[in-house]
């Protein structure tokens, strides 16, 4: 048993775990529609690989990963693709995103799966490819594509996160109790892929049954199951790493910098299913809880199931100004619409009563009591950040490390003045981000303008140089000509050239010359019109367009007058 370290700050909110962790995981019923967003993870959205009207089977790939930092999406039941269109997705701001909508046919017909029982003989890259193709992302919270995270060198420690520190949520608790064998197999695969010598499994001590189950499942392994004192946010990746190893992930670094990789227990189980059974990620365990739910508990929910459907199944009775939270009460967000789908990161749906999670507390002025700083797991000074966020002092916000805030909500939880601190920080972060984008764009525009100026100057210089060169050349040639021309008089030569021209003209006659002029003008006009059209298409500047159309008009006038002359010239002969 290795030592348990501690991290700065943290809070001990009421746990509310017993409402949902006493019954075993049940399967949620099949909805009539499945709404599958192409972006359920961090990174590039998946690319739809199906078309409207197509029939798909359960487990069939419907959108493939676009690049390494992306994750595939699979149909979570059989049915027909009825639309690929923007739908409101699970996002606090009620944003829409491309979703593939399947009308289920109720048959739940599955694709034949390809199990890989002898996975040990596979190359690491093959295993990673398998994990990516089965659409596995971190199921703990952020939804980071697992294959990408596992693809790091020099890993010596694998940390399995079974902390689940947010109140109300018990999805991982039940998973560890009921699927500890699969979890063990998943950890096996993860250890094989990462090559970690040490495996640490962190579980909060408010889940004794889970600790026991996991302990039994990996009895014959040299893994360590660490019981961690219950404190929020021990389940944060950086906090868990400090708890188990005593080391902090360097600022702006990642755990792999320390030779550590972290995976959530549910992710490990999903990886076991993906590799051993060849089953893609099409469902997850979601806790359904809160006082407005009659049948609280954990449900195995197909991805894409509308939240509404799950709520109804759980016996949901909404009240006036009801809140429905996706995630826990500290970091979860209220849903804009109950029709949004359950996605890979949805670990909890919480429908609290008004008295359970009150949101109408009146804010009072900050008295700088500093309780927020005592509980901040990032060791920031939230009271100072609040001050600067309110006055939009971006310089001081940066100096007080706003970017290190993980938005865990511990500060706002303890604030006696009931200030919505996290909201202030989110807004300030967004402002700073927007400003930096604007700044970057301005920088790009500036460099572009400077480059253009330089190019224009260079062009002018080049033109000047060629002109000077041509002039010099002409001068040299003229000198040479006059030197080699000998006794021939240039004036006499010019007179003779003029005479010859006159004779030629007389021979061909005037009309012919007019004819060739008309031909020439028509060609020019044709070219000018084409140029104008092209300029229109490519959206050139107003000035360019007017100049071009003026020259077209001028050519038209010239052509018209030439044609009139020709007609006049032809009249006598007819």
């Amino acid at each position: 048993m290795s030592a348990i370290y501690s991290f700065h700050g943290g809070i001990h909110p009421e746990e509310h775990k017993s409402e949902s962790n006493t019954s075993s995981i049940q399967a949620a019923p099949l909805p009539s529609y499945l709404i599958l967003p192409v972006s359920q993870h961090i990174g590039a959205p998946a690319k739809p690989a199906v078309s409207v009207g197509q029939r798909v089977l359960k487990g069939e790939l419907i959108a493939h990963a676009d690049g390494p930092l992306s994750a595939a999406v699979h149909a979570s039941s059989s049915g027909y693709i009825v639309a690929i269109e923007p739908q409101i997705v699970a996002h606090p701001s009620g944003l829409s995103d491309t979703c593939i909508i399947i009308e289920t046919d109720g048959r739940d017909e599955a694709m034949p799966a390809t199990p890989h029982p002898n996975w040990q003989s596979y190359e690491i890259s093959e295993l990673l490819g398998l994990i990516r193709d089965q659409g596995i992302t971190g199921l703990g919270g952020a939804g980071f594509p697992s294959a990408y995270k596992l693809n790091s060198d020099g890993i010596h420690t694998l940390i399995i996160n079974g902390v689940e520190c947010e109140p109300y949520i018990t999805a991982d608790d039940r998973l560890m109790r009921e699927r500890s064998d699969l979890l063990g197999q998943g950890i096996n695969i993860l250890q094989h892929i990462t090559g970690a010598q040490q495996v640490l499994i962190g579980i909060e001590d408010n889940k004794p049954e889970a600790i026991k189950a996991v302990g039994t499942a990996c009895e014959d392994r040299d893994w360590t199951v660490a019981s961690i004192p219950t404190k929020y946010p021990s389940g944060g990746e950086k906090q868990l790493i400090e708890l188990l190893t005593g080391k902090q992930v360097p600022r702006r670094g990642i755990p792999a910098d320390l030779g550590i990789v972290c995976q959530n227990v549910a992710t490990a189980v999903a990886i076991a299913q993906a590799v051993l059974e060849g089953q893609p990620l099409i469902s997850r365990i979601t806790t359904l809880t809160g006082e407005r739910i009659a049948n609280k508990g954990n449900y195995e929910v197909r991805l894409g199931t509308p939240v509404e459907h799950l709520l109804q199944h759980g016996g949901y009775t909404p009240e006036q100004s009801q809140k429905v939270i996706m995630g826990g009460p500290l970091m979860g967000f209220t849903l804009p619409d109950p029709r949004v789908p359950i996605v890979k990161t949805t670990n909890c749906i919480l429908a609290p009563s008004k008295t359970e999670l009150a949101s109408d507390t009146q804010s009072q002025p900050c008295i700088r009591c500093g309780h927020c700083a005592d509980v901040c797991p990032a060791s920031l000074l939230p009271q100072q950040l609040y001050w600067y966020a309110k006055s939009q002092n971006h310089e001081q916000l940066n100096a007080h490390n706003l970017a290190d805030c993980i938005e865990c909500g511990a500060c706002a939880y303890v604030c006696p003045s009931a200030l919505p601190l996290v909201q202030f920080y989110r807004a300030a972060k967004a402002e700073i981000k927007e400003k930096s984008i604007e700044q970057r764009q301005a920088d790009i525009a500036k460099t572009r303008f400077e480059a253009r100026l330089a190019r224009l100057e260079r062009d002018a210089a080049e033109r000047e140089a060629t002109r000077a060169a041509r002039k010099a050349e002409a001068k040299a040639k003229a000198e040479q000509d006059s030197r080699f021309a000998g006794e021939e008089d240039p004036v006499q030569a010019a007179i003779e050239r003029a005479k010859a021209k006159k004779a030629r003209l007389q021979q061909n006659g005037e009309p012919n010359s007019l004819h060739s002029k008309i031909e020439e003008l028509t060609a020019k006009l044709e070219r000018a019109k084409f140029g104008l059209e092209r300029a229109h298409m490519s959206g050139k500047e107003e000035k360019v367009l007017t100049a071009l159309s003026a020259s077209v008009q001028r050519l038209e006038r010239l052509l018209a007058s030439a044609q009139a002359k020709q007609e006049q010239a032809q009249e006598p002969s007819e």
């Binding site: 909110p13 606090p92 670094g253 100004s321 967000f333 500093g370 920031l380 909500g409």
Partner: protein, 342 residues
Amino acid sequence: MMLQQVSSPHLRAARSTDEIMLRVLLALVPGIIAMAHFFGPGVFTNIIVACVSAALCESLCLSMRDRPVLSSLKDYSAVVTAVLLALALPPYSPWWLIAIGTIAAIGLAKHVFGGLGNNPFNPAMVGYVVLLISFPVHMTQWTAPSSLATIPGILDSVLAAMGSEAYDAVTMATPLDLMRQNDGLMVSALWQQYPQFGRFSGVGWEWINLAFLAGGVWLLQQKIFTWHAPMGMLTTLGLMSALFYDGGSSASGGSPLFHWLSGATMLGAFFIITDPVSGATSNLGRLIFGALVGLLVYCIRVWGSYPDAVAFAVLMMNFAAPFIDYYTQPKPYGQQARDSEK
């Protein structure tokens, strides 16, 4: 069905600002009882007059600033200021003296700077210093403790509060005054000559300070504030007095115990410098803030010319708080690891 949209977190601890203020008031009770025991009902008249005038002043300022009066009054911050000021004034002070003090504290130190949470200086101490400078005679008349003279009755204390000259309480120099003005007497001789001295410091004062200490420790246990500022102040005050104790000679500034249990030491350490608004903000900052207050308290007590030093020391350190904050900002998670990489 419309769903309510609110920002996370959705869960809050039950503790509120008014609750914190109420606990501070509750923690003052033992000290108030001890003071009343030694100095009589004048302590209560002080508190009552201060609370009434503070509430009036707060209401007036709030309505002038177009702020909700009742809900702001209910945060009890004005009451806390009033009680702290009342305890710092000599018992049996006339009503007008207390009223001027509370107007300076609430109106000038608090609302002129933007109300609760915005005052750079401790309001009660501003009120005290305004009175000390304006009415030095009234402010240096401390009642004799009950064991040395009969203390006035309730009627007399009401008369005194109404500003009547009909009753004059017996006043005596405080032990801190005697120690500062001592010229030529060994500490032990001083103790023998004046009845005001008790076992460790002044008669009564030692019990009063112990009672405030008990209230402060309870607040610490309740996690209303951290140990840093009080510990810093008491440590440097003790160190300074140990350093200049000089074996109890005639030049001695008094023992550490004498300073810890005299005047407003414990009231200051646990109820004044722990004011979060005007103090330093990080734990290290609070430790430094408290330590420098302790240093200044000793210097002003021993080499200055005021009856007590806590108010001036606190105000001076209020000036320095933003400066301390600047240099004591804690390192965020992972900074140490990043620094050691370089």
